[in-house]
Amino acid sequence: MKTSFVLLVTLLLVAWYLSFSATRLDRLHHRVETSWANLDATLQRRAAIALEIAHLPEIDPATNLILTGAAYGAREAQIFERSDQESGLSGTLQLLLRESDLPELHPEIFTKLEDVTERVRVAVALHVEAVSATKSLREKLVFRVFRLAGTAPLPVKFAFEDDVL
């Protein structure tokens, strides 16, 4: 009688814990989706600004080609190669801005670029944090044994260094 009672309580506790853990993970997956949507939208905006810059009258054809290429590369990249492509775009923009008087000639568009760069930085930080929280939770024993993540794919880390922006 007593053992069956203990067993019942234990079972209930285990069930509660599993449900609690599943909710936690679900919430984190949701956070990753949101932070990715943010990052994606912000990066798309940055690529659009890069294209705008590429079409400025002062830009020579070679630079235009490089910049347009980098912007399209970033826009159309698959999720796994996205961070590489975006880093490429960052590098190109940096190269362009080095010893250039373009920002003085077109303050409007370069202020926009500065703003969006700041937002990318925040979006990357939020996303990286969400991904690593999710990953570290999914590595815990209870999540692996009971397969609480179900069939959800492991979130892709966005390897984007702050200093390349």
Binding site: S19, F20, T23, R24, R27, L28, H30, R31, E33, T34, S35, A37, N38, A41, Q44, R45, A48, E118, R119, V122, A123, A125, L126, V128, E129, S132, A133, S136, L137
Partner: protein, 400 residues
């Protein structure tokens, strides 16, 4: 091609203050200014806070949650509120508020903010203010805090030090956005003649607390007065000065003057009047809002080289640093600056330029950027229990 464009005007924002609203403090001041700024911008803001005397509550956007209790925390006494009654107040506030977003301040200490983070669901942003050294207890509680803190859509730390504290204790990262001030107010304050008598050094704070370091400044005074005979130390802040005066020798006593608590308006004049602001704090400081106010007032600063100050003053570029807890080093730096007016002015000038980034117009916009990212999902703030499976089953049953 903007698939996600959350509205950034007319938001309904719920903020939670961990500390008693009627006790003065940096966190409360931060929340008050931020709330007022957003209200001016056309948002709706409601602040849930512990309040000791509801009848003397001046801010109409504050919802009192009950009387705070005093607990020792991080070397000081914190006036916070928690427990089942407080939890039900939080639940009520959230369910009636119809908020787009919750902004929880200091959600990792036992407080209303932690309760709100536990009870709430949806877009939530947390700001971490404290810098605490490694604590055993923090490691003990982190497994309990983790499931709660991970619900935050975004974390903000007010300084690099606060961010490090967060990384060490809770293994999570944060975006650094500094505390805000009204730069114009301090830049345009008028000096008062009574505070400009001789070479004046200013100090603001609860001077009885050892970590504020007033004793170090007093210990440095004999040396300073030998080189700068007309030096005067003006001390503003609440506390009992008799004890300190009694233990100081009679010749120095005349050089100290305790002003007691000064109003916010007087603080501007005070900082404008003095020749040098000294912050001899020995630790426990996360940001140093008073230093940003001194920078905004274009007053030269001497501060101890604790990490928070070193960071804020960019390693000594915007204000002079001295080796923390060393009275002789402090005296040296002060004498050097008091005797060289040009150097003092240059330092104040460089410092003033660095204060711009702390202005609310910049800080509040940065916080709004984080809000808009937290809002991307498009849902509203709700109560966590609404989403639990068993509650869903029960509510379906009762609905039929």
């Amino acid at each position: 091609m903007m698939a996600y464009s959350p509205k950034s005007s007319g938001l309904r924002i719920g903020m939670v203050s961990p500390y008693g609203w009627d006790t003065p403090g940096g966190v409360q001041a931060h929340i008050r200014d931020l709330a007022k700024y957003y209200i001016d911008q056309g948002h709706y803001v409601s602040v849930l806070a512990p309040v000791s005397r509801e009848e003397s509550l001046a801010d109409d956007f504050v919802v009192p949650a009950g009387r705070p209790i005093s607990i020792p925390y991080n070397g000081a006494v914190a006036r916070v509120l928690f427990g089942p009654v407080a939890a039900s107040r939080v639940r009520q506030w959230i369910s009636q508020g119809n908020f787009d977003l919750l902004h929880l301040h200091e959600p990792a200490i036992p407080s209303l903010s932690l309760l709100a983070c536990w009870i709430g669901e949806g877009p939530m942003v947390g700001t971490f203010h404290a810098a605490a050294p490694k604590q055993k207890v923090a490691f003990a509680v982190s497994p309990l805090l983790e499931p709660v803190i991970e619900k935050l859509s975004a974390r903000i730390a007010v300084s690099e030090i606060a961010r490090e504290t967060l990384t060490i204790h809770l293994e999570t990262d944060a975006i650094v956005i500094p505390n805000g001030i009204d730069v114009d107010f301090f830049a345009k304050s008028e000096p008062k003649v009574e505070w400009q008598n001789g070479n004046t050094i200013g100090f603001i704070g609860r001077f009885e607390e050892p970590r504020k370091g007033l004793q170090i400044l007093i210990d440095a005074l004999p040396i300073i007065s030998r080189f700068v005979p007309d030096v005067k130390v003006l001390i503003a802040g609440p506390g009992e000065s008799a004890e300190i005066l009694k233990s100081t020798n009679s010749q120095l006593r005349s050089k100290l003057s305790f002003l007691g608590r000064i109003s916010e308006a007087d603080k501007g004049s005070f900082l404008k009047s003095i020749d040098l602001y000294v912050a001899p704090n020995t630790g426990g400081e996360s940001f140093g809002i008073i230093l940003t106010e001194a920078l905004a007032s274009e007053t030269a600063i001497v501060a101890s080289d604790i990490p928070a100050f070193r960071n804020l003053l960019n390693g000594g570029e915007y204000g002079a640093l001295f080796e923390s807890e060393s009275a002789t080093e402090l005296a040296k730096v002060i004498i050097d600056l008091l005797r060289d007016e040009q150097k003092r002015k240059d330092l104040a000038n460089v410092g003033h330029q660095s204060a711009e980034r702390f202005d609310w117009t910049q800080v509040a916009e940065q916080i709004m950027d984080v809000y808009s990212m937290a809002l991307t999902g498009g849902e509203k703030v709700g109560l966590v229990s609404e989403n639990r499976p068993w509650n869903r089953i029960f509510s379906r049953d009762s609905g039929q």
